[in-house]
């Protein structure tokens, strides 16, 4: 994938883009997307994959106007328009899934499908979430990954002095701004999830310690026609812990939408 700079609404983003096919916009979670991961390489084989670093993250600008997840939702609707993308397959993990949901309740004109991996965004009373802001980097990996060996390997591979790394600190600060309160949700989002009118797949690790799997069922009830895929032996990050399975699920979801569209002979949704 190629590294690019793109300026939208006065904010310059660091964008990783690669592959060809229908556009797939992947929105990363709270910890950012500093490197190309195997699932991205795999998806770039089927799609024109776009992985931006969010405003306030990594090498992207930290704009004055950024205060909430809703700001990012409007921003990425602008981003799609600015790049002239149509029929976008929109995917996101955790916080990125929440941004995707906030976009979809606003406007799905340019969105063809949604694939959400353990998205934040709503709150279930009495279902405690993990407190990611109390976790050290080591605890974070142990809590997000179900496979203890994988967690220990990731800890061993952690760069020296991570906690003093300016990009790590910038990402954490932006995450705190967007997620701290109300913690990982928008109290009004659930009321409008019925507006989502594109095929939606919800992927969840059964052993998720940040957002318990009970949320998958809640989202499935709130989003019309949403399908769920619950992964055994998997924590909060299916794209990392079960990358192959995650890619396969996303491809399958898109393929079903494509088949449905072809069968119906429908014109692309962008120009109904």
């Amino acid at each position: 994938m190629e590294q690019q700079r793109v300026t939208v609404t006065g904010c310059t983003l660091s964008l990783r883009r690669g592959g060809s096919g229908e556009p797939l916009l992947y929105l990363h979670g709270a910890n950012g997307a500093p490197v190309e991961l195997p699932f991205m390489t795999a998806l770039a084989g089927d799609f024109d994959l776009l992985v931006p670093e969010h405003p306030g993250y990594g090498a992207s600008d930290d704009p004055e106007w950024l205060d909430t997840i809703q700001d990012l939702a409007y921003f990425y609707l602008d981003f799609i328009k600015h790049l002239g993308l149509e029929g976008v397959h929109l995917a996101g993990s955790s916080m990125g899934g929440w941004i995707a949901l906030e976009m979809a309740v606003r406007n799905t004109a340019a969105i063809r499908t949604l694939t959400l991996s353990a998205p934040a965004g709503i709150h279930l009373k009495g279902v405690p979430k993990g407190d990611l802001f109390m976790w050290s980097p080591e605890e974070t990996l142990r809590n997000l990954l179900h496979d203890p060996q994988m967690a220990e390997d990731a800890i061993a591979a952690m760069p020296e002095g991570l906690e003093a790394d300016p990009v790590f600190l910038k990402n954490r600060s932006t995450a705190a701004k967007l997620l701290w309160s109300p913690r990982l949700y928008n109290p009004h989002l659930y009321k409008w999830l019925h507006r989502i009118d594109v095929p939606t797949l919800i992927v969840w690790g059964r052993e998720d310690k940040l957002l318990p799997v009970a949320y998958a069922e809640a989202f499935a009830k709130l989003i019309p026609g949403a399908e769920t895929a619950i992964l055994d032996h998997c924590g909060h990050l299916p794209y990392l812990e079960q990358a192959g399975r995650f890619v396969e699920l996303l491809r399958g979801h898109v393929a079903r939408e494509t088949a449905g569209r072809e069968k119906a002979g429908a014109a692309p949704k962008v120009n109904p």
């Binding site: 701004k177 701290w180 309160s181």
Partner: protein, 397 residues
């Protein structure tokens, strides 16, 4: 020099073995560790100690605000200041300070402080702080907006105290249609404002601004850091076009005076170490939530993470100048020297810390008041301008 008796009101009866099961005495330590019977006795003992400070000739008392912790039993310094204001008649009451950004309605602070100022006839000193990192976890307040909220709340309170009401205050975080605080403060234009801090250039530049000239109170940290930041204040004032006075600087430090250097060290040791290594201890994620300080400050803090969280002995703390401990003569000599180096006029003595029992606290207060204080009084006063020495190489805190 002016002398304040500063109290943190630790829950001294805490079972210190908590540390085997819990990482910290803040935010998440179960409140089943708190016994209201013991708390009742401690509150009244501590209030007696602060009242005794007036009798002993201190110029003021200092109280502060911390939430959900055994470190201090003053979630509301307003309550403690209120309990003291009618039982004292001469001394200043310094609230060091109220945590502005933690309030969703900082107008209530403008009201409460103004009430105390009116009732005491102008004995209030208002301290403004942001609250420590752990308190952002406690209140769910977004640490990344802490600075913005602090500055807005500050502006709101100052305007509420100085502008004729009613007027509208239109901020990003605080927006009120009718600002019209009753009572107006007793002191003109408002109570003196102190800024307790462990040192940051931004805070110092802001406090030293000619429009504000707020007293910078440097709190518990190694002596070289205190020297560095007090010098930074003087430099900042000079850059901003004036010479600051020693009255604009304060130093808060634990002090223990005993019969001899050796007996003082032995008496203070377990109580100081409980204060520093048990009551104060917290994981860095709690101390410095993301966005609480600028990325560059965070970087500096993360680099010295070990020294922030590691246990220290009273001996090394004495070496670092984090506590003054010894006979009256020793403490006196140290303070003369430190005052000369730091150039402050306000000394905030922490004469109780951690688990220090009542008897030792009282004898500490008495020895300090009778054998140390009188010798230091003339230092730093206007007229005898302090002669700040060049501070040595400094360590971050």
């Amino acid at each position: 020099m002016k002398f304040f008796c500063f109290h943190l009101m630790a829950y001294a009866d805490l079972d210190l073995s908590f540390i085997e099961k819990h990482p910290t005495a803040w935010t998440t330590l179960p409140n089943s560790y708190y016994d209201p019977e013991k708390g009742h006795r401690l509150y009244n003992r501590y209030l007696d100690e602060l009242e005794y400070a007036e009798e002993l000739g201190f110029d003021g008392v200092g109280v502060n605000e911390h939430h959900q912790t055994a470190y201090g039993m003053m979630p509301s310094p307003i309550v403690i200041a209120s309990a003291l204001m009618r039982r004292t008649s001469r001394i200043k009451i310094a609230i060091l300070g109220s945590a502005l950004p933690l309030r969703d309605h900082p107008l209530t602070l403008a009201e409460e402080h103004a009430m105390i100022d009116n009732i005491t006839g102008g004995r209030l000193i208002s301290g403004f702080v942001r609250g420590i990192g752990a308190e952002y976890h406690t209140f769910g307040s977004i640490p990344a907006f802490s600075h913005e909220r602090f500055h807005e709340a500050h502006d709101l309170i100052i305007e509420a105290w100085t502008r004729p009401g009613p007027f509208a205050f239109e901020g990003k975080h605080y927006h009120f249609q009718y600002v019209n605080v009753w009572p107006r403060p007793y002191q003109k234009p408002h109570p003196p404002i102190w800024i307790p801090s462990q040192g940051s250039q931004e805070t110092i530049d802001w406090a030293a601004h000619p429009k504000r000239k707020y007293t910078y109170l440097h709190t518990f940290s190694p002596l070289p850091a205190a020297a560095k930041y007090m010098q930074a204040y003087r430099d900042s004032a000079e850059r901003q076009g004036y010479q600051s006075s020693p009255e604009q600087l304060g130093w808060a430090v634990p002090i223990y005076v005993g019969a001899s250097d050796e007996s003082a060290r032995v008496e203070a040791k377990p109580h100081f170490e409980a204060f520093r290594n048990r009551f104060l201890k917290m994981p860095i994620e709690m101390l410095l939530p993301p966005g609480y300080t600028s990325v560059s400050s965070m970087q500096r803090m993360a680099a010295v993470k070990k020294s922030l969280t590691a246990d220290i002995t009273i001996e090394s703390a004495m070496e670092l100048g984090m506590i003054l401990c010894g006979s009256a003569a020793t403490v006196r000599d140290q303070l003369v020297e430190h005052q000369k180096m730091l150039g402050f006029n306000n000394l905030l003595t922490l004469l109780h810390f951690g688990t220090l029992p009542e008897e030792l606290t009282r004898s500490n207060m008495e020895l300090f008041a009778r054998e140390v204080m009188p010798h230091l009084r003339p230092l730093g006063e206007t007229g005898e301008s302090a002669d700040p020495a060049e501070p040595g190489e400094t360590g971050a805190t």
